[in-house]
């Protein structure tokens, strides 16, 4: 713990703790550098698979004579192309990018929950692989990447294809949600001391907003997938119009996710541009605050325009007006960002470089995509262009322009960081021009193809449409684009293999990720910096040397602990010493057990699925065994004369915030379910149903009693630790939840017979299931708390385990009260249905 450690010795000591094993031990890695890299490489592989599918599509459509796939195979190909590019490439790619980069930009040694990153990665890998296996077996999903019901319902898609989509994507989305929780907590709590919110690099603001959007955007999709899988597997008629369901419910749930998702994909890429462009402008980003506001505005507006995918379903013009206006309005925060970039360049000394060349590609392409986006926001025009190749062209301009080009810029900017090497062969330029020209030649004419009447998803071109020449141009140019991709891959390989090794900070950037050795060491920073100005104006070269010499915070090791600092979230004042978990195989095992659940669902072995869930639960308990201290440590020195408590003894520890965020996402899912019920009441045919059960008041009363007692007793448990009464209060929590469970079981039994007859009963049944599941977890949390007390992990200061449980009990009580009210209110509203 002395200041006299040489940089080499410090490196060796840190690497002994943080370094990842060799051989099979690599599977135990939880380090953000490794996990981020794995995410990105896996996403690249999926991109190439999706790209091959795109080439199949363009070959099929090259001329009216060229079709070689029948309609069924073609349907699998276009569905998988969309699904892979959206869910298995774009989202995981930026997640990996953020996981890799954020701690390094923020001056931390890792993300807040490294095991969760690893678990998310395995879920992504296994879920994505399920879909690829389905494709190789010829049973890939074939209903289009937005899976509209009833085409994807059991009667019209009897095969296993749609189940692969619903289960595989839900499996993958676990990684999106876990990444979102972890990104928010890491940005708000794990920064370098002194990095107050207004000093954060702009990329962190972008990712903070994006992660927030993911927490609210993904739950509707997950809910929709669960409901559709329930309909397919157990015949609960949420989307069946003959039994009070509505296919439009799926469309609302899907696009309530689907449109924000476009911005979820765009914003990280825009964040990369906002990081890279100022470096080459030689001037800090103009309008930092304006950009933050624009990103917030964009995030919200993007949740208010999902119905522009539904302008042709017959929704009244007034409602369309809201969505049309919001869709147009989202161009304003986009313009603010564009002009912030232009302002930065105009007041700087811009220099051209390979990243800047790709930013030019981004400007060119994304402006076109944005302009056609405003066109599609106009209701009458959309009613013509909707579901044609105009939309196909538009969405590729937006996604290739708004994601691929910026990510290529980011790749050329940060590949030296990843590999420690700079490019020596001038392949990037020809690759760019092939890709850029191929892309524009392929997709610009496609606007016209669409306006001249070519619908989406037709499995070949009909000669009588007169669109063969346009399609041939698009197909031919697509192969130029493919050559560009191939050249990129060669260039990446050459750079990584033969690139020139550089010392530090090749672009003269002012952000913290360059203040470390490259490729990045496992522990990222040998010691943590103190930040005294905006963290994109730092002297990375000078800082790098100081930190490597251990002159920052935590420039030492103790007890083999993985340590990083937690700060007060607004001011960046150091607040706690965060002890991170060591390398472990548990995330892998847990993801495998989670995969077992999904495979059992796929195989329709429903009775065995609870066993898989129990296994998952047991493994998560195993995570807890590796966490936490068995004694109060008090204040510990962290260097530079400061002493901090370990996070387990800190009021503002990361985990309660993570729990609050998880519950927020959970509440969004639940809220979507309740709104789904109201939506069916308003919109679906066949309401009201002939008769619905009257909930047993006695059971409702008992359930409410249990639900209310649990959080009250849970709160007593937290305050009662000191006096040793916590254990007894936790037994009361468990008892209360048990009581609620008995009452809920009675209510479930009452609703169960009607659940397949009408959507009203199905919704009420599922709400009861949701509440039951939460009570069950409430019981688990109570027993978990009891177990942690018994193993000595709980003290008056180390009360995290009990606080997390209390959060859960409070949420469960709220959700239960709401649910029990709802199953009374919805049948009552339905009985009013005939009033008009």
């Amino acid at each position: 713990m002395s200041d006299t450690l040489s940089p080499i010795r410090l490196h060796k000591q840190l690497d002994a703790i943080w370094g990842n094993g060799k051989g099979l031990e690599r599977l135990a890695a939880v380090n953000h550098t490794v996990i981020g890299r794995r995410f990105m490489i896996t996403a690249l592989v999926f991109f190439l698979i999706g790209g091959v599918l795109a080439m199949l599509i363009r070959s099929q459509l090259a001329s009216a004579q060229s079709p070689f796939m029948d309609a069924d195979l073609y349907a699998q190909v276009f569905t998988m192309h969309g699904t892979i590019m959206m869910f298995l490439f774009a989202i995981p790619m930026f997640e990996g990018f953020a996981i890799y980069l954020l701690p390094k930009l923020l001056g931390a040694r890792d993300m807040a929950f490294p095991r969760l990153s690893a678990y998310g990665y395995w879920c992504y890998l296994f879920g994505g692989s399920m879909l690829v296996v389905a494709m190789l077996a010829g049973v890939a999903p074939d209903g289009g990447w937005f899976m509209y019901t009833p085409l994807s319902s059991r009667p019209y898609s009897p095969g296993i294809n749609a189940d692969f989509w619903l289960l595989g994507i839900t499996f993958v989305e676990i990684s999106a949600l876990s990444a979102a929780v972890e990104i928010v907590v890491s940005i708000l709590k794990l920064r370098a001391p002194g990095m107050s919110l207004e000093r954060m690099p702009i990329f962190a603001w972008y990712m903070l907003v994006v992660a927030g959007m993911m927490l609210l955007g993904f739950p509707p999709l997950i809910l929709g997938s669960i409901l559709l899988e329930l309909e397919r597997a157990f015949d609960l008629p949420f989307f069946d119009p003959t039994r009070g369901g509505d296919p439009l419910l799926w469309q609302h749930l899907f696009w309530l996710f689907g449109h924000p998702e476009v911005y979820i994909i765009f914003l990280p890429a825009a964040g990369a541009v906002s990081t890279i462009l100022p470096v080459f402008a030689g001037r800090p980003l103009a309008g930092y605050r304006a950009v933050v506001i624009a990103v917030i505005a964009m995030a919200f507006l993007s949740f208010g325009l999902w119905v522009h995918h539904m302008f042709t379903v017959g929704i009244p013009h007034l409602a369309l007006g809201f969505f049309s206006a919001a869709s147009a309005l989202v161009a304003v925060p986009t313009a603010v960002q564009f002009f912030a970039w232009l302002a930065t360049l105009s007041h700087g000394r811009p220099r051209f470089s390979i990243p800047m060349l790709h930013i030019f590609g981004f400007f060119f392409t994304f402006v076109i995509g944005g302009l056609t986006g405003v066109m599609l926001a106009m209701v009458p025009f959309d009613q013509q262009a909707h579901d044609t190749h105009f939309v196909v062209a538009h969405l590729h301009y937006v996604l290739v322009g708004g994601f691929l080009f910026p990510m290529l810029a980011a790749t050329y900017y940060w590949l030296p960081h990843l590999t420690g090497r700079m490019a020596v062969f001038p392949l990037a330029k020809p690759a760019f021009w092939l890709f850029f020209i191929g892309f524009n030649l392929s997709f610009l004419p496609m606007h016209l193809t669409g306006l001249r009447g070519m619908p989406r998803r037709v499995h070949s071109v009909l000669p009588e449409w007169g669109l063969e020449t346009l399609n041939l141009i698009s197909s031919g140019a697509a192969f130029i684009m493919t050559m560009g991709v191939a050249l990129y891959l060669i260039d990446f390989f050459l750079l990584a293999r033969f690139g020139r090794i550089f010392r530090r900070n090749p672009w003269r950037a002012g952000t913290l990720e360059w203040a470390m050795a490259t490729p990045a060491p496992s522990y990222a920073f040998a010691s943590l910096p103190a930040v005294t100005e905006r963290a994109d104006r730092l002297d990375a070269d000078r800082l790098g040397g100081e930190l490597a010499a251990g002159r920052g915070y935590l420039g030492f090791t103790r007890h083999g602990w993985m340590e990083t600092l937690g700060v007060e979230m607004l001011t960046g004042r150091p607040q706690q010493l965060i002890l991170l978990p060591r390398q472990t195989y548990l995330p892998l095992w847990t993801a495998l057990a989670t995969g077992l659940f999904f495979v059992l669902m796929l195989a329709k072995l429903y009775w065995f699925t609870p066993l898989a869930l129990l296994l998952v639960l047991a493994l998560f308990m195993g995570w807890a065994r590796q966490t936490g201290l068995r004694e109060d440590k008090g204040l510990l020195p962290v260097g530079r004369g400061i002493d901090l408590p370990p996070h387990g003894e800190c009021e503002a520890a990361p985990s309660p915030m993570a729990m609050a965020l998880t519950l927020t996402a959970n509440a969004t899912l639940y809220g979507s379910l309740l709104f789904g019920g109201l939506f069916l009441w308003v919109s679906a045919p066949g309401w009201p149903p002939p008769g619905t059960p009257q909930p047993m008041m006695a059971a409702v009363g008992i359930a409410l009693l249990g639900l209310v007692i649990a959080p009250l007793a849970g709160a007593q448990a937290v305050t009662g630790i000191e006096s040793g009464k916590a254990g007894r209060w936790l037994w009361l929590v468990a008892g209360a939840q048990g009581l609620a469970l008995v009452a809920l079981a009675m209510l479930l039994a009452q609703w169960a017979p009607d659940r397949t007859g009408h959507a009203l009963a199905a919704i009420c049944f599922i709400i009861l299931c949701y509440v039951t599941l939460h009570c069950l977890m409430g019981l688990v949390f109570a027993l978990y708390g009891r177990w942690r007390i018994a193993t000595g992990h709980v003290s008056a200061r180390r009360n995290l385990d009990l606080r997390l449980g209390l959060q859960w009990q409070c949420y469960t009580a709220g959700a239960g009260l709401l649910g029990l009210t709802f199953i009374h209110a919805l049948p009552w509203l339905a009985s009013l249905g005939g009033m008009a």
Binding site: D72, G144, Y148, P150, L151, Y156, P241, T242, D246, P247, L248, A286, G287, T312, V313, G314, H317, G321, A325, A328, V332, A335, V336, F339, A340, L342, A343, L345, S346, H347, R349, P350, F360, F363, L371, V374, M375, M378, P380, F381, Q383, Q384, A385, H386, D387, P445, L448, R452, G453, P455, R457, H459, L462, E464, W465, G466, L467, I473, A684, P685
Partner: protein, 228 residues
């Protein structure tokens, strides 16, 4: 070069840019207006990017704040407002208002979609003329026609590009779109929403008859279908 020009042609049996009725015509006009605006804005953006990259300092006369306010708020807000009002006025005009259109009342027909064919019903035709036509919709030229869609299996979408926008046929719903063919003739229709393996081949034809001959020809067509 000549082939490029030929490509730029906008005609075609299913081209929205070759309108044959007021709805399609209005939307095509909206498209041309937006295209001109979009090209102008695109050129402006590229010119600004070129300026700041190639002539360093040329844009520094305007403060950074000025750039963001003028370009981020000052430019897009008026353009978007004007465009939105234009499109919403047009949208209101295209709605199937109960007061009907010019040239007398509105003709009502029903388009029932199934995998993979269209069946057209004519509820307004007098007694004794029940029946449907398969994959051919008969309408009078010059009169507003309200097409109400239905589906009993999956979602389809009724689309006659030269006459106007599309309207989905969603099971459990029956939305209406108003179309009009200015002149008698044949207009190709398509299914626009992916509905399964027969999606491509779910085309149909709209046959617009001179108004005076409409009822007679429709009855003949119905009788013909009956005979099959």
């Amino acid at each position: 070069m000549a082939s490029t020009l030929a490509l730029a042609g906008c005609g075609g049996p299913v081209s929205t840019l070759d309108p044959a009725g007021p709805a399609a015509d209005a939307i095509a006009r909206l498209w041309w207006v937006m295209l001109i605006g979009a090209v102008a804005l695109f050129i402006l953006m590229m010119a600004l990017f070129g300026l700041v990259m190639l002539r360093p300092g040329a844009g520094s006369g305007l403060s950074r704040r000025g750039w963001i306010l003028a370009g981020g708020l000052g430019m897009p807000l008026p353009i978007l407002t004007a465009l939105l009002i234009y499109a919403l006025i047009q949208g209101e005009r295209l709605l199937p208002h109960p007061d009907g259109g010019p040239n007398g009342g509105v003709v009502r027909v029903e388009a029932v979609a199934r995998q993979f064919a269209w069946e057209f019903h004519y509820p307004e035709l007098g007694a004794g003329a029940a029946g449907t036509t398969l994959n051919v919709l008969h309408i009078p030229a010059g009169r507003a026609v309200d097409v109400t869609t239905r589906s009993d299996d999956v979602i389809h979408s009724f689309w006659v590009p030269r006459l106007g926008g599309k309207i989905d046929a969603t099971p459990g719903h029956s939305p209406t779109i108003r179309l009009r063919a200015d002149r008698p003739g044949l207009y190709a229709g398509l299914c626009a929403e992916y509905c399964g393996t027969g999606h491509r081949d779910m085309g149909f034809t709209v046959e617009a008859h001179p108004p005076a001959l409409y009822e007679q020809r429709l009855r003949a067509a119905l009788a013909g279908e009956e005979a099959q």
